[in-house]
């Protein structure tokens, strides 16, 4: 399974979005906690500094420096700051040596933004009844600690959410992806024309099952229709063959048994050959259906292709010569392939027969057997008119005859039989350009399905 495929699954994306939303929620929650705590702590600090300042109110002027030293000693956490100044602002006692500038002497706590203090520290300054100036500050060490804790929590939980989210989404996507794979695998034979194959369904009844069910229902219908169409063709061929044969038998008996003139004899012969042509056509239709119906690999055996090629050359040599054509067979190597010998011979016979039929006198036909890496390849090239590119697929279908070929004799089913034989063997049959002429290649190895 490729990683890019995983990224693209809906489950993966959805899980990631859920993860992001969850992370945002966690951040908002922690932010809210911090904000509330900050407000609460500030209030606390304000009350502390007000209370501490108040403790100096009843103290006589002379005892103030001693009191400052006393409270400083009691401050173990080192969060309280005191400064006692004369009415003119000259330092008397305390660990604050200089009165912060611009501090209003109103006794109301405000934020202290001075170097050496944590952000959020609170302080007040006021003039004592005895005239001295008292400065009381409280450093925001608790608030800073809380901030650090919250920040750390955010970082850790964020990392955890991202990791868990990725892991979970990958894990969740794998299951559906595996099933999609199964569906993909199961659909390959269908694409290859094996219409009885169906997509797998589980008993989960999820959306994949729903889609597979719909696809299977459609396949049922396609198969039914196709069989209907096919059997109409076959039945017509079958139903017409018997009366046609009887008609032919009658014509034959008339010719043999009734005394007719030479001229009438000729007409009867013509009628007989027309009937024979019709019969050949119906026979070919039934033949295609018969090949299509066959079990794949039933009757398959090892076939020596080079012998087959030689036989074809020997069978068609005289006919080609009669048409003023040269028929060359080339077998590069001796090749064996698992196939139905009779059908393969019939297919080759049809291909060479076609080449003889359509190549003008003086031309040449070449039947070549070569060994490729994948397996043996048969190639038939001629110097005839070829098949236009837009007709190459169509000529392999039933009854299609090329534009130039309509006048030529034959059932018009030769190539369809070849195509049916190729289908049965899973060989690929390709019509190409031999410039000039037609090049037909039959790859004698199971064709890889590329979609």
């Amino acid at each position: 399974m490729r990683r890019s495929e995983l990224w693209r699954t809906t489950t993966f994306r959805l899980t990631l979005v859920y993860g992001a939303v969850f992370a945002a929620g966690v951040m908002a929650l922690l932010g809210l906690i911090y904000a509330s705590a900050a407000v609460f702590l500030t209030q606390q600090m304000d009350e502390i500094v007000i209370g501490q300042a108040r403790a100096f109110h009843g103290v006589p002027s002379s005892a103030l420096p001693e009191k400052v030293r006393e409270v400083e000693i009691q401050d173990v956490r080192n969060v309280n700051f005191y400064g006692l100044f004369t009415a003119d602002g000259v330092w008397i006692a305390g660990n604050v040596r200089r009165l912060p500038k611009g501090a209003p002497l109103n006794g109301i706590p405000r934020e202290l933004r001075e170097p050496g203090f944590q952000p959020g520290a609170r302080a007040l300054a006021e003039r004592l009844p005895s005239g001295e100036i008292l400065f009381v500050g409280f450093d925001a060490k608790t608030l800073a600690g809380l901030r650090a804790i919250i920040l750390q929590s955010l970082i850790w939980s964020g990392a955890l959410i991202i990791l868990l989210g990725l892991g979970l989404s990958a894990a969740l996507s794998l299951g559906p992806l595996r099933r999609i794979r199964e569906v993909q695998q199961a659909s390959l034979p269908i694409l290859d024309g094996q219409l009885s194959a169906r997509l797998p369904t589980s008993n989960r009844r999820d959306e994949i099952d729903m889609l597979a069910g719909i696809a299977n229902a459609m396949m049922d219908e396609v198969e039914r229709l196709l069989w209907a169409v096919k059997s109409v063709g076959d039945n017509v061929a079958h139903d017409l063959r018997t009366p046609l044969t009887r008609l032919r038998a009658l014509l034959y008996r008339v010719r043999e048994e009734v005394g007719v003139s030479e001229a009438h004899h000729g007409m009867l012969d013509q009628a007989l050959s027309e009937t024979d042509a019709l019969l050949a056509r119906f026979k070919a239709i039934q033949r295609i259906s018969e090949i299509d119906r066959r079990e794949r690999r039933a009757g398959f055996a090892r076939v020596r292709l080079h012998t087959l090629v030689e036989e074809i050359g020997e069978l068609y040599g005289p006919l080609a010569e009669e048409h003023g054509l040269s028929l060359l067979t080339e077998t590069e190597a001796s090749c064996e392939v698992l196939a139905d010998r009779d059908l393969l011979f019939e297919a080759l016979s049809n291909l060479v027969g076609n080449a003889v039929k359509f190549t003008p006198s003086g031309g040449s036909i070449r039947l070549r057997l070569t060994r490729r890496i994948e397996g043996p390849q048969l190639e038939i090239t001629d110097t005839g008119p070829g098949v236009p590119e837009d007709e190459r697929q169509a000529v392999l279908e039933r009854f299609y005859r090329g534009r130039q070929e309509r006048q030529a004799p034959g059932s018009g089913l030769g190539l369809s039989i070849v195509a049916a034989v190729a289908r049965l063997h899973e060989f690929s049959l390709v019509l190409g350009d031999a410039s000039p002429g037609l090049r037909v290649t039959l790859d004698c190895w199971p064709s890889a399905i590329v979609h």
Binding site: R241, T242, L244, T245, R246, R248, A249, Y252, R253, R255, E256, E257, D269, L272, S273, L279, A280, K283, A284, Q286, R287, E290, R294, G299, E311, E314, L315, Y316, P318, L319, E322, D342, F345, E346, S349, G353, G410
Partner: protein, 226 residues
């Protein structure tokens, strides 16, 4: 006059068989179902049998097996609507001598039956076949006409051997194709004609009496009297 038994349940087909074979001078009897056919076939009163593959009561394969098991070795031409290759193989394996698929041309059926009858009559294992002044030596693979040697290609030799073994009988193109090349499909008429005309050029040179005859609408015959 050879006696033929036609076992066939389809009346029209049976009439065709009877008419064609009678016209050729055979004495034909018709059995319309399997049971009746089997009883008459094993009676030993007939020289050859045409046998439908699918029959009511007793099927064609059974009839031919019973015939062979009871020692009735007259030629049997199986006739069947089943065209599959397997069916042909089964028919021949059960003891049939030839297999013809329905629908068929009457002369094809008659030609095949005549060849079967001829084959049954010739018992001797000759090494030299002779038809008039034409000689074919199966051992040395030499062919002579009136003492003059004829050089034949392997296929031409096989073709001539087949014609000579069945001299006097009409051989259809399908029969020739099946016998010489061993395949069972319709190769088109021209293909076989060309091979025959090549052989004829060698066997019947200008000035000699033609031995290979084309029977219009049917096929070929060697040394035919008609």
């Amino acid at each position: 006059m050879p006696r033929i038994l036609a076992i066939e349940d389809d009346e029209t087909t049976a009439q065709e068989i009877v008419a064609e074979l009678s016209r050729r001078g055979f004495d034909v009897e018709w059995a319309a179902d399997g049971r009746n056919g089997l009883v008459r076939a094993v009676s030993g009163d007939f020289d050859a049998v045409t046998l439908d593959r699918m029959l009511p009561h007793v099927d064609g394969l059974t009839i031919v097996s019973v015939m062979r098991n009871t020692g009735i070795n007259v030629p049997v031409l199986m006739i069947s609507a089943l065209t599959e290759v397997d069916e042909r193989v089964r028919g021949l394996r059960a003891g049939g001598d030839d297999y013809l698929t329905k629908p068929f041309a009457s002369e094809e059926m008659a030609a095949r039956l005549e060849v079967l009858l001829r084959r049954a009559r010739i018992q001797a294992r000759e090494t030299v076949l002779r038809v008039q002044d034409l000689e074919l030596d199966l051992v040395t693979r030499e062919v002579r006409r009136g003492g003059r040697e004829i050089a034949l290609m392997p296929t031409e030799f096989k073709l001539l051997e087949f014609l000579m073994r069945n001299s006097g009988a009409v051989l259809t193109r399908t029969m020739i194709f099946e016998a010489i090349w061993g395949y069972h499909f319709d190769p088109g008429t021209n293909l076989i004609d060309v091979h025959l005309s090549r052989l004829r050029r060698k066997v019947d040179p200008p000035g000699s009496e033609p031995l290979i005859k084309t029977i219009r609408g049917s096929g070929y015959a060697l040394n035919a009297s008609f």
